[in-house]
């Protein structure tokens, strides 16, 4: 149980109320239109300066934090690709011990790790699972641009079905090489860690301020927490950089990326197509705006649409957990 003092965060009501202070500033070398850079800038704006950050290997390390031109105003440290969870645990544990023993001032210091989809969702999932079982105050942000973007766009367990990447090129014999359905990381972590009090999915730019408030909520609720962000990537998804925000919005509106938070075990849909009156937009509208799906045939769009429909219409907890209810008959 956390005994350290907390920072009282206000809910950010509207874009004009977003803190002006920049704690992630010039110096990074991310691509034009990089949504992940917005994810970085946002979480540290929301968290404030009494924060230590670790960044796992990935594009947001290699392109983002270069020697002598660091964009980080807060203390920042690189960690290994699969060490997001353990880096946060190590720092949180160290700070807690030092505070308890009176070696440093007893104050709230946020510990935040960001890891990409390859680092958090694949290699480091065990370490993050262990972190979410701990009783430390820490936040892990999985910024998901659906590829190993730093090594020239290779498929990960989080890449959308059918996408072209350098590991999954369409061919004459096999038009679809990415045959894995996107891993359900946030849902998996929420379901698997009963004492974790906050898990959310988010997109840095849609709906406005939603992501920033989720970061604040995670840090306020305390204990180990997890946020999965959806980060359109102009280079990896193959679209004009000006459309990053729009693609994030479309991904959510077509339902392929559900937006929710789970607070103390209760699901809140933070954008819900079922309540708009219009319903979900067709997935094809989202997919055809990206070059990585240029090779898809009608049958593939149909398949993806069917899978997304299933997420929302057949899952017991729509979009969150792929459980379709209890089978009454004994097998």
């Amino acid at each position: 149980m956390s005994t350290v003092p907390t920072i009282d965060y206000e809910k950010i009501k509207g874009v004009h109320k977003i803190p002006l202070e920049e704690l992630y500033t010039s110096g990074h070398r991310t691509c034009q239109g990089c949504e992940s850079a917005t994810t970085m800038r946002g979480f540290i704006k929301a968290a404030g300066s009494r924060t230590v950050v670790t960044g796992a290997t990935g594009c947001m390390y290699v392109a983002n934090t270069s020697y002598m031109t660091t964009p980080w105003i807060v203390p920042w440290m690189h960690t290994q690709l699969g060490a997001g969870g353990s880096s946060a645990v190590g720092m949180a544990a160290g700070l807690r011990a030092l505070k308890r023993k009176g070696k440093i001032k007893d104050e709230k210091i946020n510990v935040i790790n960001f890891s990409g989809d390859l680092g958090a969702g694949d290699m480091g999932i065990g370490g993050i699972s262990a972190a979410l079982q701990s009783d430390y105050d820490l936040l892990i942000i999985m910024y998901d641009n659906e590829s190993a973007a730093n090594t020239d766009i290779q498929a990960t367990g989080s890449t959308t079905y059918g996408a072209q990447t350098t590991f999954t090129p369409p061919g004459t014999k096999h038009p679809i090489m990415q045959r894995r359905w996107k891993k359900n990381v946030a849902g998996m972590l929420a379901v698997g860690h009963p004492t974790c009090r906050y898990v959310a999915t988010a997109c840095a730019t849609f709906p406005p301020t939603d992501y920033l408030n989720k970061v604040r909520k995670a840090l306020s609720i305390g204990g180990p927490t997890f946020i999965h962000t959806y980060d359109p990537c102009p280079k990896g998804w193959d679209y004009h950089p000006r459309f990053s925000n729009e693609l994030g919005e479309l991904g959510i509106k077509c339902g392929i990326y559900p937006l929710y938070e789970i607070v103390e075990g209760q699901i809140i849909y933070t954008w819900d197509a079922r309540k708009t009156g219009k319903g979900r937009i067709p997935v094809k509208e989202f997919l055809t705006k990206q070059g990585r799906f240029d090779h898809l045939q009608e049958e593939h769009f149909t398949h993806i649409q069917k899978m997304v429909d299933e997420m929302w219409e057949e899952w017991e907890f729509p979009g969150v957990a792929p459980i379709k209810g209890i089978l009454k008959a004994r097998i």
Partner: protein, 413 residues
């Protein structure tokens, strides 16, 4: 786990507060308690595990205050230790055999990040096939990575080297991670009477850990290990190289300070011990618990008038080049005992042999040198085995050829 506690029998005054019957693992745990370590990360693998067993009980009983984390893998365990160290917390971890290898990525970056946590390695053979017994290849895998690495031979030394290890590793001139190695089973699980220092004496010897300008804290907002590419890696490697060189001097200082507080426990040149070498013509040099049968063999052969001695190498990184060169070049022949392997390496020797031979190359008086591969996978190295090694080394004095250059000791053929 049971910790047998014996009442103090011998004279205990000053820096030592009691005498306990402890095995190597339990002794290390006492050292960690006395070092007032802040963060401990545990993961089970034989034979080092009992260190963590002992620590968890000390914490459970309120005898020691530290964050105690059971990690999900060695990689996570070592990363937890590394990052705790980065926020200026004194941190401790450990492993054995393939577990140590599983966390290798984290071990490499701990050194390149120039962080000074201490890890104990209960030496164990590398699977496959499964084997719990001692072999030194696990710890030696970090020998070129910018680590401090030393071997101890008794539980007393094990306890004391936790304190000495942190003292050296955390020194501003060094700041390198410390590998404290001890032979699996032969030391990790053999009990000796151990004098346990008082908290006051430990505190007097070991200063508080202070990463100073490199600690990660909101009041010190630095970026650690940003991407440097080809621009700066070479200069950083040079800094590591210089730190490893400087460590040799700091090691000497640390032992002198230790002697000041605890009485003359260690004698110069500290990096290694010599046993009955004063007028010796032939010596064996080895690492770890093989020292015990070797010393007994020396005594027995001395009774028959043979001029033999034993050199126990304690510090492997940094390697005590000058001191060892000076020492070994006094002898007519040197036999190098390797409890490790380096398959396909020059002359197919073991790792220690390569190091010793390389060290002796510039010596004015180069002794004859032979290599022994023995005790692999935990096979016993007996008094008779070490005696046989002495005899083969004695014969090497007269030989011109490389015949008999390598002998596998105790091998079923």
């Amino acid at each position: 786990m049971s910790v047998a506690v014996a009442k103090a029998k011998s004279d205990l005054s000053g820096p030592y507060e009691r005498e306990d019957l402890l095995n190597g693992c339990q002794a290390v745990a006492q050292g960690v308690r006395l070092a007032d370590v802040d963060v401990i990360a545990a993961y089970p693998i034989r034979p080092y595990t009992e260190v963590m067993d002992a620590l968890s009980k000390l914490i459970a009983d309120g005898q020691f205050d530290a964050e105690y984390i059971i990690a999900d893998s060695e990689h996570s365990q070592f990363e937890i230790v590394k990052h705790a160290s980065s926020v200026n917390a004194r941190a401790f971890g450990g492993s054995s055999g393939t577990g140590w290898m599983y966390g290798m990525e984290a071990l490499v970056v701990t050194a390149t990040d120039r962080l000074p946590p201490l890890f104990v390695v209960g030496n164990r053979a590398l699977d496959d096939p499964g084997a719990f017994g001692v072999e030194h290849n696990d710890a030696m895998a970090i020998r070129d990575m910018g680590w401090l690495l030393c071997w101890v031979t008794t539980p007393q030394e094990a306890l004391e080297h936790v304190l000495i290890g942190y003292r050296i590793a955390e020194d501003k001139r060094v700041r390198m991670p410390m590998g404290l190695a001890m032979d699996g089973a032969f030391l990790t699980h053999s009990q000796h009477m151990v004098k346990v220092p008082s908290v006051a004496a430990a505190k007097k010897f070991l200063p508080q850990y202070d990463l100073a300008e490199r600690r990660l804290h909101p009041d010190n907002p630095i970026s650690v290990a940003p991407q440097v590419n080809e621009d700066w890696v070479m200069e950083l490697r040079r800094q590591n190289w210089e730190a490893a060189k400087r460590a040799r001097g700091v090691i000497k200082e640390a032992y002198k300070e230790f002697n000041d507080v605890f009485g003359n426990r260690y004698s110069a040149p500290y990096y290694f011990d010599e046993f009955m070498t004063d007028d010796a013509e032939v010596v064996l040099i080895g690492i770890g618990t093989v020292a015990a049968p070797a010393r007994t063999a020396v005594r027995r052969m001395r009774e028959k008038g043979q001029k033999v001695g034993y050199v126990n190498l304690r510090w492997f990184r940094p390697f005590p080049t000058v001191e060892l060169r000076e020492s070994l070049s006094r002898f007519k022949a040197v036999g190098v005992v390797d409890r490790d392997f380096a398959h396909g390496s020059p002359d197919d020797c073991g790792i220690l042999m390569h190091e010793v031979r390389s060290c002796l190359y510039p010596a004015k008086n180069r002794p004859a040198i032979v290599n022994f591969m023995g005790g692999l996978g935990g096979r016993d190295l007996s008094i008779a085995d070490t005696q046989k090694m002495f005899e083969i080394t004695q014969q090497a004095v007269k030989k011109d050829s490389m015949d008999g250059f390598i002998t596998w000791i105790g091998l079923r053929e």
